[in-house]
């Protein structure tokens, strides 16, 4: 029983941790873009070429 509780607590913690992951809105504007515009994942990279 105690073990089950522990496992449950672990899962609750894991779920809340990922749900609370902060998301920052980044305006995309007309910046250079590659890949489908409606892709489920958008990666924005702040870059310095040097």
């Amino acid at each position: 029983m105690k073990k089950t509780m522990l496992v449950m607590a672990f899962f609750l913690l894991a779920v809340s941790a990922s749900a609370e992951e902060k998301r920052y809105p980044v305006p995309l504007g007309d910046s250079p873009t590659l890949g489908p515009l409606d892709a489920p994942v958008t990666v924005v990279e702040f870059i310095d070429f040097q």
Binding site: R23, S31, G35, V41, T42, F46, D48, F49, Q50
Partner: protein, 143 residues
């Protein structure tokens, strides 16, 4: 600094499911950061942004004016137009807009990457990104 090969691997691995957007954040005190950003956007005007982007990452830190014009030639760009663009800092406004966005967002390092808004600072191994992207794709399927 950029996450070059790692980003490339991500784009290849998740082709069709992922979109990459570049914001310029040239560091103020590096000699060629600004002119390299100008070069990338000058190449964009001639339809070869990504070709130049990749070349700049590959040849960095050799990014002085003459080298950049050489890269433009290598990519078959109109080098007169290209040179006029970087010399005239044609895209300064766009670059400054990106820099302002970066400072407004409290970003101090490059590369800084956002995956569906989730922030990753500095260079990380592919596996690190993979874990986040797989989570995002899994979450997306719920809707």
């Amino acid at each position: 600094m950029a996450a070059g090969p790692t980003i490339k691997k991500i784009m290849d691995t998740y082709k069709g499911k992922i979109r990459l957007v570049i914001k310029n954040y040239p560091y103020q005190y590096r000699d060629y950061s600004h002119i390299a950003a100008e070069a990338s956007l000058a190449a964009r005007d001639q339809g070869k942004y990504w070709e130049m982007h990749d070349l700049l990452l590959k040849r960095s830190p050799k990014l002085d004016r003459e080298s950049l014009i050489g890269y433009a030639k290598e990519l078959g760009l109109d080098t007169n137009k290209f040179a006029a663009s970087i010399d005239g800092k044609k895209h300064a406004q766009e670059i400054e807009r990106d820099k302002k966005l970066a400072t407004d967002m409290d970003i101090y390092n490059t590369p800084t990457i956002f995956i569906n808004g989730r922030k990753v600072v500095g260079e990380r191994p592919f596996e690190y990104f993979k874990k986040i992207i797989d989570e995002e794709l899994k979450n997306e399927k719920k809707f």
